[in-house]
C-alpha cells in the first residue's frame, strides 16, 4: 500500500485506540434532570436519625468536595487560609461551634460560658471552660485541659512561626486547675472571645515530644499529615496538587459520621470547579459566581447562599491626600444617591443579594430601622449643587474653587468588581462626578501603609472590597482613631483615616460591654452614624454561595462554621 494511503489509516487506528482507552472504566451516567431550587434558601433537611448499623456489604459512601485552593498546612497554627481553616471542622475540634443560625453550641465544653453559669466573670476578663469527660483523640487519648494549655503555649512560642497569635497574645494568664477546667484571664475585657478563641486544639501527647526534640513545630510532619484527630473524621492521605482524603473516625466521641470518606480535590479555578460539579465528579463546591448558578442548577446541582458576615462596600478616604469633596457629607450622600446599587444587584448579581445597609447586615448588630440609601440622582444632584459643586466649564464634570470633582476608585481585579466600577463610572458621571478607576492584584491592594498600600497612602479616594472581622462577633478596630496608620504606626487598621469622636467612643465602649442588648444598642447607633455620614457605602451583601450535588442529604452550612454538622451529612444511595 502506498505511503500516502497508509497515513489516514494509521491516524484512524490511533483515534480508535484513544477512544477504546477512554471507554475503559469511564463513567457514562446520563445527566440528571435539572430541578428548581430557590437560590437564597438552604436545602430542605431531613431529620437527623440515629444511624443504624450499615449492612456488612453496603457500598461505601464517598463524597468529593471541590476546592479551588490547595491547603497550605493542616496545622491550624500555620494557616489562615479559609480553605484549610474550615477543614479543621472535619477532623479537629473547637470548644464550640456556630450553627446555621449562628448560635453557639458546645462541642468540647459542657456548656457555653456565660455570666449565669459562672463561665464568664462579671468584669468580662476571665473565661472558664468546663470540658466534657468523654472527649478523646482518635487514638483514644483523652482530650484534657493540658491540650488547651499546650495549644496556647505553641501559639505563643517565639520558636514557632505561626500565622497569627490573635487573640492569645491578649491573654494575661491561663491555668488548668484540673484536667477538665481551663481558666483564661485577659488584661482587659475581651468581648469577641467566643468567635475567636479555641477554634482548634493541638494534641499535646503527640506534638510536645516533637517540639522538645526539634525546638519548633515548624517542620513537624504532623503539619501535613496529622496522625490524630478530635473530629468526626481522621486524616488519611494528601497527594500534593491533587487531593486530600479523610475517613470516618471510628473512635469519635460524638455522633458517628454517616459518610465513610471525604475527598477534597484541588482544582485550579472556578471553571474547573463548575466542570467537576456539572459532570458529577464533585459533590460540593463553594464561592460559586453568580454567572455559573444557572448552569449548575441546570445540571441538577443545588445552589444556596449563606451569610458569613462579609459585605461588599465602598470605603471613603479621609486622609490629607483625599479629594476635598469627600470631606463634605453632602457630597458623600450624593455619591450614594447617584449610584443605583439596587439595579447593580439585580443585573450583575442576578438579584441573588441586595445592597448592604450596614457593615453588620444579617447579624443582630445591624440596626433594623435603617434603610439603604435609595437611588435618587435628582436629589444627589441637588445636594451637589447646594454644596457648591457646579459644572462651570461645561465639560460635564462639576467643580468648585477650581478643583474638579474627579475621584479615584480602586479595587482588586475580580471581574464583578471591575464590572461594578464600569457601572458606577457611568452613573456617577450622570451626576457630574467623574470616577477614575484602578484595579490591583489582591496582594498589592491590601498592603498596609508601611508597604505602600494604595488606600492608606492616599492613592485612592474610594476603595471597594468585602470584609468582616470576627464573624459572628461584630468587633472591629477598623474605625478607631488610634488605628490611623502613619510613619510612626505604619500597620494601623484605619486605612480610611476616619476620626469621628462619637464613633470612636462607641467602638471603644462596645469592646467592654458584656451585656448583649447594651452592645447591640451601641452597634445600632454606630450603624446610624456610619450610614448618615456615608463613611462606608454598602454595595452588596457578600454571601457565600455553595453548590451541593443532589445525592447529598442533611447538608446544613453555617456561615461561621460551614462544616459544623458534617457528621450528619449523608449520601443518597
Amino acid at each position: 500500500m502506498a505511503t500516502h494511503k497508509k497515513l489516514p489509516l494509521l491516524l484512524g487506528i490511533a483515534l480508535l485506540l484513544i477512544l477504546a482507552l477512554v471507554a475503559c472504566g469511564t463513567d457514562t451516567a446520563a445527566p440528571t434532570t435539572p430541578t428548581e431550587v430557590p437560590v437564597d434558601a438552604p436545602p430542605v433537611d431531613t431529620p437527623a436519625d440515629t444511624p443504624a448499623a450499615p449492612p456488612v456489604d453496603a457500598p461505601r459512601k464517598v463524597a468529593t468536595f471541590i476546592w479551588t485552593q490547595e491547603f497550605d498546612s493542616l496545622n491550624p497554627m500555620y494557616t489562615s487560609m479559609w480553605f484549610s481553616s474550615i477543614t479543621q471542622q472535619i477532623w479537629n475540634a473547637a470548644a464550640w461551634h456556630f450553627d446555621v443560625d449562628n448560635n453557639p453550641n458546645p462541642v468540647l465544653v459542657t456548656q457555653i460560658p456565660d455570666l449565669e453559669n459562672g463561665g464568664l466573670s462579671a468584669d468580662g476578663r476571665s473565661i472558664t471552660l468546663n470540658l466534657r469527660d468523654d472527649i478523646r483523640w482518635s487514638d483514644g487519648t483523652p482530650i484534657t485541659s493540658a491540650d488547651f494549655l499546650f495549644t496556647y503555649e505553641m501559639t505563643m512560642s517565639p520558636n514557632n512561626i505561626v500565622n497569627s497569635t490573635y487573640p492569645y497574645s491578649l491573654i494575661q494568664s491561663i491555668e488548668a486547675p484540673d484536667a477538665r477546667t481551663v481558666v483564661t484571664t485577659f488584661e482587659e475585657p475581651f468581648i469577641p472571645w467566643m468567635a475567636t478563641m479555641w477554634t482548634y486544639i493541638l494534641p499535646e501527647h503527640v506534638l510536645r515530644p516533637v517540639y522538645e526534640a526539634e525546638g519548633t513545630l515548624d517542620t513537624a510532619a504532623w503539619n501535613l499529615a496529622p496522625t490524630v484527630s478530635a473530629g468526626p473524621y481522621v486524616f488519611a492521605e494528601w497527594e500534593s496538587g491533587s487531593f486530600t482524603r479523610f475517613v470516618r473516625n471510628d473512635n469519635y466521641y460524638g455522633t458517628p459520621a454517616k459518610i465513610d470518606e471525604i475527598f477534597f480535590r484541588f482544582v485550579p479555578d472556578d471553571a474547573a470547579q463548575v466542570a467537576s460539579l456539572r459532570t458529577g465528579a464533585g459533590d460540593l463546591g463553594t464561592f460559586i459566581s453568580q454567572a455559573d448558578i444557572p448552569t449548575l442548577e441546570g445540571a441538577g446541582v443545588e445552589v444556596f447562599a449563606v451569610v458569613s458576615g462579609y459585605d461588599e462596600g465602598w470605603y471613603m478616604y479621609f486622609g490629607e491626600e483625599a479629594h476635598p469633596a469627600l470631606a463634605d457629607k453632602n457630597v458623600r450622600q450624593a455619591i450614594a444617591l447617584c449610584f443605583d446599587r439596587f439595579a447593580l444587584n439585580r443585573d450583575l448579581l442576578l438579584g441573588l443579594t441586595e445592597p448592604a445597609v450596614t457593615f453588620w447586615d444579617n447579624t443582630p448588630y445591624a440596626n433594623p430601622n435603617l434603610e439603604a440609601w435609595p437611588y435618587d440622582p435628582d436629589r444627589g444632584r441637588a445636594l451637589l449643587e447646594n454644596a457648591g459643586w457646579i459644572d462651570t466649564t461645561g465639560n460635564g464634570i462639576r467643580d468648585k474653587d477650581g478643583v474638579e470633582l474627579i475621584l479615584v476608585h480602586g479595587t482588586t481585579t475580580r471581574a464583578i468588581r471591575q464590572d461594578t466600577q464600569a457601572v458606577a463610572q457611568q452613573q456617577l458621571g450622570e451626576c457630574g462626578i467623574r470616577l477614575e478607576t484602578l484595579s490591583y492584584s489582591a496582594s498589592i491592594f491590601f498592603q498596609s501603609y508601611g508597604n505602600g498600600g494604595p488606600l492608606p497612602t492616599g492613592e485612592l479616594d474610594i476603595a471597594q472590597w468585602s470584609a468582616t472581622e470576627s464573624f459572628p462577633d461584630p468587633d472591629t478596630p477598623r474605625w478607631l482613631c488610634a488605628e490611623i496608620p502613619g510613619d510612626e504606626y505604619p500597620d494601623g487598621n484605619n486605612d480610611q483615616k476616619i476620626c469621628d469622636e462619637e464613633l470612636d467612643s462607641l467602638f471603644r465602649r462596645q469592646a467592654t460591654q458584656i451585656d448583649f442588648e447594651e452592645r447591640q444598642q451601641t452597634f445600632w447607633r454606630i450603624g446610624e452614624i456610619m450610614l448618615d455620614n456615608v463613611y462606608w457605602l454598602g454595595i452588596w451583601q457578600d454571601l457565600d454561595t455553595w453548590a451541593v450535588s443532589s445525592r447529598m442529604e442533611n447538608v446544613n452550612i453555617s456561615g461561621a462554621n460551614p462544616f459544623y454538622s458534617i457528621a450528619e451529612w449523608d449520601i443518597r444511595q
Binding site: 463513567d27 491533587s242 508597604n451
Partner: protein, 357 residues
Amino acid sequence: MNQVSLIPVKGVQMTRYIIRRLLQAIPLLLIVSLILFLLLYSIADPLTMMGGRNPTRPEDRARLARQLGLDKPIMMQYVYWLIGNDWEMIDVSGDGEPDTYGRRKGILRGDFGVSIVTRGKPALDIIWERVPNTLLLMIPAQIVILVFGLIVGIYSALRQYSWVDNSITTLSFVGFSMPIFLIALLSIYLFSVLFQRWGLPSLPPNGMFDPQVGKTTSQVLKHMILPIFAIAFIDVARYSRYIRSSMLEVMSQDYIRTAKAKGLRRVYIIAVHAMRNASLPIVTLIGLDLPFLLAGAVVTERIFAWPGMGRLFLDHLDRSDGAVVMGIVILLAIAVILSQILTDIAYALLDPRIRYD
C-alpha cells in the same frame, strides 16, 4: 593526516568547550538570580495575604516579618538566600536582641529555603514532588509533538502543493494561531462535558487521576490525554511547518538528485540523506523546548489541574512564596543552560563541519 587522530582532538575541543560554557554559566546564574530576586521581593508582599480572607493583622505582620527575615533590607535578604544566615545571630524571641544563630544554609550549599506557604517544608522538597508529574506529562507530549510533527511535516513536504499539503498548511496555521487556553477549554467542553451529556465515553476534565479509583496506570493515562492533546495541538503545527520547510530545502539539493539517480529507494533517501541534513533546525527547536520539559505547561497544568511544576509556580507566585518561586526559576535557568550545551553537542555530532574552538 591520520583520520583516527582527529577524533581525540575533536573530543578534547568539545570537552574544553563544555567546561568553558559551564564556567560562563556561573556568573550568568548569579545575575539571573539577583534580577529575579529583586523583582519578586520588590513587587510582592507575602505577608499581606497571610491573613486568609482578611488582611494580616498588624501585630502578626511585624512578628512574621521578623521571624521570616522579611524585615531585613532586600540585598541582605538576597545574601541570606545565597549563603544562608547560620553564620549570624538573629532575634528569635522578639526582644530586639539577637539570641540564636540562623538555620539557613543558602542556595550555594543546596538549601533552597523554606516555603512560606507550606510553612516549614523545604522548597526543594516541594519542587521535587512535582517534577515527576511534569516530566510524566511533558515527555510524552514532546514525543507526540515530534512524531506527529515529523510525519505531518515530511508528508506535507513530499506532497507539496497537493490538496493534502494545502489542508495541512491551513490546519497548521489555525492550530498555531489559537491560544492554548482556548484549545484546552474547548477540549474539556467537548470531550468531558458534551460527550457525557450525549452518553458517549467521556474524558476526565481535570486532575491526574480519580482519587476514588487511585493512582493506577490506566487512570493516569486517561487523565493525560486531554492535556497532551492541548499541548501537542499547537506545537505539532509549529514543528510540522519547520520540518516541511527544511525538508523542501534539502530535497532540492544536488546530492538528493544524485541519490535518486543512483536508484536508491525513496524511503532510504528520505530517512538517511534528507532527514539528517534537515534535522539541524529541528535540533534547534528541540533544544529550545527542552527546558519546558521541566517548566511544565503553565496554562495547561492550570486548566487541567495537573499537579506539575507549572501549576506549582503559579500557586506559589500568587502567594509570593519567594523560596519556591526562586527555586523553580533557578532550576529552569540551569535547565536552559544545560539544554543549550546539549544542543551544541548535538550540532557537532550531526554536522562534522561544526567545530568549537
